[in-house]
Structures are given as C-alpha cells and as structure tokens.
Symmetry: C2
Subunit: 224 residues, 2 copies
C-alpha cells in the first residue's frame, strides 16, 4: 500500500513547480517558509487572498513590513513592545517586588489573561534544552541577575513549563542567583496539579501524585 502510493505522491510534489506568474510563485515561496505551512497550504492561502478583497492582502502585507521595523524588546523584561520599555514595566501600579520568570511572550499573554498576577515579568526567550543546542548563555539570565542586583525583589516566581527542560532551567537560575547571595530572595514555582475541570481518573500518576504532596488547606483552595 505504502509503496503503491509513491508515484502519486511524487506527482503531487512536482505539481507545484510551475506557476504562470512570478509574483504568485514568490508569495507562495515566502509563505511556505513559515513553520507548518507547506507549498500546498501556501498556494491555498495565496489563492484565498486573490479571491478576497485587495485590502486584505495589503493590510497583512503592510502589517508584516511594519512588524520588524516597529517591534522591539523591552529593555527591562524583554517582553514585546513598541517603546523602550513595555506597558507592564512602565506601569507604576504593578508590584515591583515580584518578578515572574517565563519562557516567552506567549506565557506573558497567558498569565496576564488570568488577572491573577500584578507583579512584573522577565522573559527568558527560551528554556535550557541541550537537544536543541540552547544553553544558559542563549537566554536572558544575565540581564535577570543584573536586574536583581539593581532593584532587589522579594519574590521570584518561576513559571516555566512542567517539563524536564523547564525544571532544569528553574534549577539553574535558582542555583545561580543563590550563589550570588544578592539578598534574601524568596523563590517559588507555580503550582502543578490536576487541571480545573479535569476528572481524577484521567489525570496522569505523576501529576496526581504531586497534587497530593502539595495539597493546600481547604479554605484556601475553595476561595480561589
């Protein structure tokens, strides 16, 4: 069956080599450089844009041209912004004494949407992952340390993924900052446990085990 399909699939690949328009070919090629978008999907997207209003593709095009020109990274926390410092860092009503360390700006967006955190952030730009060739020097750890030296904080919340890489990164940062003996910084990590709405029987053993070990007093959990 698999072997039988091969000529068909070779065909499908070849189908995409000739276009009647150079600009069409160029747009398809540029689209298909994006992750998860192949030549076939790219052609489908471009044909969709050709069928829809001319303003649609122009707006997307202009937004993309402006994207890299206007976006910069906050000089304090490395969040995305259009100014020197981001809206969170320059907001005086946010608690300066708590910094939440996250992997990338998607996590900032996710935590902001919970409305449960009112401190500041520090975006690492990744997590330590030897498999992908990402070491501590590739992350914004040094800037976190100098930030802590300048403005000491009371608490550092490690909000990294609950994976081997996330735990390694948390541990590395904890060790590094502890060794510097800057001051008494309280370290914490976000709680891990059974997701809200999940049924116990479907939770995996490690998560369920952790959530039993890290149980909280009943009143506490009920009011949240």
């Amino acid at each position: 069956m698999l072997h039988g399909k091969t000529p068909e699939q070779t065909y499908q690949h070849k189908h995409l080599s000739t276009y009647s328009s150079r600009i069409l070919e160029e747009t398809v090629a540029e689209f298909s450089r994006l992750p998860g978008i192949g030549k076939r999907t790219a052609l489908r997207l471009v044909l969709h844009l050709l069928k829809s209003a001319p303003e649609d593709s122009e707006r997307l095009g202009n937004a993309l041209v402006r994207l890299r020109k206007e976006i910069r990274y906050c000089s304090i926390c490395h969040n995305i912004t259009e100014r020197e410092t981001c809206a969170i860092c320059s907001n005086p009503s946010r608690d300066e004494s708590v910094i939440c360390v996250v992997e990338d700006i998607r996590d900032v967006i996710a935590i902001e949407n919970t409305n449960q955190f009112h401190g500041k952030y520090h975006v690492l730009g990744g997590i330590i992952s030897p498999m992908d060739g990402i070491g501590p020097s590739d992350l914004a750890i040094d800037s976190l340390i100098s930030r802590l030296k300048e403005h000491p904080v009371k608490e550092l919340i490690m909000a990294l993924s609950a994976t081997m890489e996330g735990d390694t990164t948390s541990f590395f940062i904890f060790k590094k900052i502890a060794s510097l003996q800057i001051q008494e910084i309280r370290f914490s990590t976000i709680a891990r446990g059974v997701s809200i709405g999940d049924e116990l029987e479907y939770a995996d053993e490690v998560t369920l085990g952790r959530s039993i070990l890290n149980r909280v007093p009943y009143e506490n959990s009920a009011t949240r």
Copy 2:
C-alpha cells in the same frame, strides 16, 4: 470528560485577547483571517517571524502588498498572469484547437506539470454548487461561449472534479454549448479510474466499476 474540559478551553480562548504591542495584535488578527489559521497559529507564526531574520517578514510583506497590485487574470482564459494575456494563451506553439476547462488555477498548475497537454485552458473560477450559493452566472461560462464563437475549436476537454458538483457543471456547459449549435465541437472528459500505483482491493466500487466500463485496448494503455 468532554464537559470537564470546558473551563480549560474557555481559558485558552481568553488567553489571546491582550497583547503588549498594537502592531503584534494587528499582525496576529490579519493572519488569523486566513482560512485554517486560528489566533493561536497566527501568534505562533508571528513569533516565528520575530525570531527569524528581519528580511523574512519584509519579503513576505512586500510580496503580499504587490500580489494584488500586479496580478491580473488573463483576458482570454482567466488564468493568473502579470500581463494582459497569460503565458499559455500567448504561446504560439500551443494547440489552439483544444481547450481544457478547469475549475481554478491550481488545476492548470497540476495539468501543466503532467506535460501531457499542449492545448489551451479555460479557468471557470469555481464549479456550480447550490449549497455554497454558486450558480452558473458566477462562473466564466459566458466568456467560454464567446471565446468558442470567435475561435471555434475541435475539442473541449472537461477536466473538473469527479464529484456531483463537477459532473453538474460539465453537463450544464455541455448542454449550453450544444444548444448554441456553434459547430461540431467534440466534447470529452478526463478519464476516471484506478489511480496509478493504487492496489485494486483498496479502490472504491464506483471508481473500479467505471474503470472496467471505460477499459482501453491493451497496447494503448501499455504505451502510456
């Protein structure tokens, strides 16, 4: 289980409402207007572009801005081109006496890549589909008829999808042109049968039945 997941999923949707940058928000919104690309995928694509070279997003952006300005449809066959008539229509070595009727330019690309057709095309821009509100007047059928009136052809190949809609469209065009009695145009449709490389036991009954009914002499099929 399904009910249990609901709060989680509501969360995930809400996560995407606040961004720290207006241009980021704009680009994500524009990307997510494309078919099959949600807010989450759009954000992933934009973050990818932010991590890659600045030229990448600029090239894609410029291509998109130019796309709708430079691309037009061939005045003869409605294929995509950058000139008044497309490369195929303006090529004198292509056989003018055969026109292959297709649904959209993807089909032109697919047939061109087979290197088996040396005539001209006519791109309908869709097929008759009452469910989607597409009727005969939405397709380039009138321009096909005036094209045939001006330059009569020997053969018209209907190369539409092997679906109810495709068959309906073929039949409609056949009836319409036959009723005009322009001249003796030979109508044909592309062969339907078992795909090259497919095993018989996996072919569906209708396809297999058709391929038995429309069998060809052995020498003929062996040389192709």
